[in-house]
Symmetry: C2
Subunit: 123 residues, 2 copies
């Protein structure tokens, strides 16, 4: 009985660590992912959550995305425009700026170096 309890505790500790780790990995990668998705086409916030999930299996909360989009806007990497709908709530579409495009290029360079380094040491 004691053993079962202990096993459960160790297992959940590890899952907890992995859960927190995945959350930390998102810091930084998420802005890179969102900018890359916006490179293809203009999307609105709620749609972006679905797009990120479909393209990367990463599930993000609304409380994560909206502040992120506001930061990107503040940094002049994206702009936004309200678009009225025939029915329903208006949508705020996000558009990459030229500075945003330049920034993605710099991010990509760093990411590729990092990715290859990690591939070397983790194989």
């Amino acid at each position: 009985m004691h053993n079962y309890v202990l096993c459960y505790r160790f297992a959940s500790m590890n899952e907890e660590f992995i859960r927190k780790w995945k959350s930390q990995v998102k810091k930084g990668t998420l802005s890179f992912i969102v900018l890359n998705i916006l490179k293809g086409k203009e999307l609105y916030g709620y749609e972006l959550i679905e797009a990120v999930k479909n393209k990367t299996s990463i599930e993000i909360a609304e409380g994560t995305l909206y502040p992120l989009l506001n930061r990107l806007k503040k940094e002049n990497l994206v702009t936004s425009k309200w678009v009225e709908q025939e029915s329903g709530i208006p949508r705020k579409y996000y558009v990459l700026t030229q500075e945003g495009i330049n920034t993605i290029d710099q991010m990509k360079k760093y990411w590729e170096t990092l990715e290859q380094s990690i591939k070397r040491i983790s194989s």
Copy 2:
């Protein structure tokens, strides 16, 4: 004159964004990197800073590494042992635990999925 000043400001804003972004990318990747380096052999703290720099070009501050190693220790992913030197300050060597090895495997699976997703959307 004004133009020069403006250009400089825009450039530095972007560099500042990239600098902060790189720092964010480290959150999460760094623990994965350190664990992977320790998989090969036991290292002490100061040596790890050099190893990370050599293998990934990532420069980390001591104020980053030592708290990180303490967290990994607290999570039972590594243990440490003091090793006296013939001359000089004793070194604290870090050793992967079995739980640490298991955790790396789980991290690796997540990382590879993420890496491939990002490769798809960023190319």
